[in-house]
Amino acid sequence: MTAIMSHQLKIVYFAWVRERLGRDQDNIDCPENVETVGQLLEFIRSEDVAYEDVFADIEKLRFALDQDFVGLDAAIDTAKELAIFPPVTGG
């Protein structure tokens, strides 16, 4: 057996990230060599040019892995859900 190891990851989008992408989630196969949030962003940008515009200014994005805020260097590990959104503005 030489199957490439991967795991299913749900990506959810909020606010203008959701609006610009035109959808609120994606389900992707996360290849084993994609280890961090930053690497995952690179991977999905390479898969679909639609992400280029939205993810152009990465400074404006925030991330949560399984509902916890994380940075770009966070390990995806066995996480099930990555959220991508602008800085929060509640209250």
């Binding site: 959810v12 606010a15 949560a64 509902q67 800085p87 503005t89 509640g90």
Partner: protein, 145 residues
């Protein structure tokens, strides 16, 4: 007693204050945020991340409980479309001492502004829309604790 609610419906600030008063702490501080009628604003659209929101608010309340001796904390945050003048958020804290109640209420609001997954879209009378940007003053306030 920590109570966290995310809802579309309006809330009754007085009822929530009375509920915390009944705990007998003696000092109840509250904050209500509402949609301010700036410029040509008609409404706000409040979006959130349902799987994360209540947990994020719970963590903020837990941290406040560790920092100050509290009898109770209530956080209610509305989502959906809110017209100018409508209430958005209530934070209510009850303690034996006024400084603790007021400080905890202020702390919770500051943290909520920067770590609770809510996003506001402004909808103007001419139909244009604008996602609210984060404010440096909010980031500074959250870090000041």
């Amino acid at each position: 007693m920590i109570s966290i609610t995310v809802q579309e419906n309006d809330f009754d600030s007085g009822g929530e204050i009375n509920r915390l008063s009944a705990l007998g702490g003696g000092a109840i501080s509250s904050f209500v945020g509402q949609v301010r009628g700036d410029e040509q604003l008609q409404a706000l659209e409040l979006e959130h991340y349902p799987a994360m929101t209540e947990n994020a608010l719970q963590k903020i309340a837990d941290k406040a409980s560790q920092q100050w001796v509290m009898h109770g904390i209530t956080i209610i945050h509305r989502v959906g479309r809110l017209q100018v003048g409508e209430q958005i958020v209530l934070v209510c804290t009850c303690s034996d001492h006024r400084q603790a109640a007021i400080a905890a209420c202020s702390y919770i609001m500051d943290q909520l502004k920067t770590v609770a997954p809510f996003w506001k879209k402004e909808i103007f009378q001419d139909g244009t829309e604008n996602w609210v940007k984060e404010r440096q003053s909010d980031l500074d306030a959250a870090k000041s604790w």
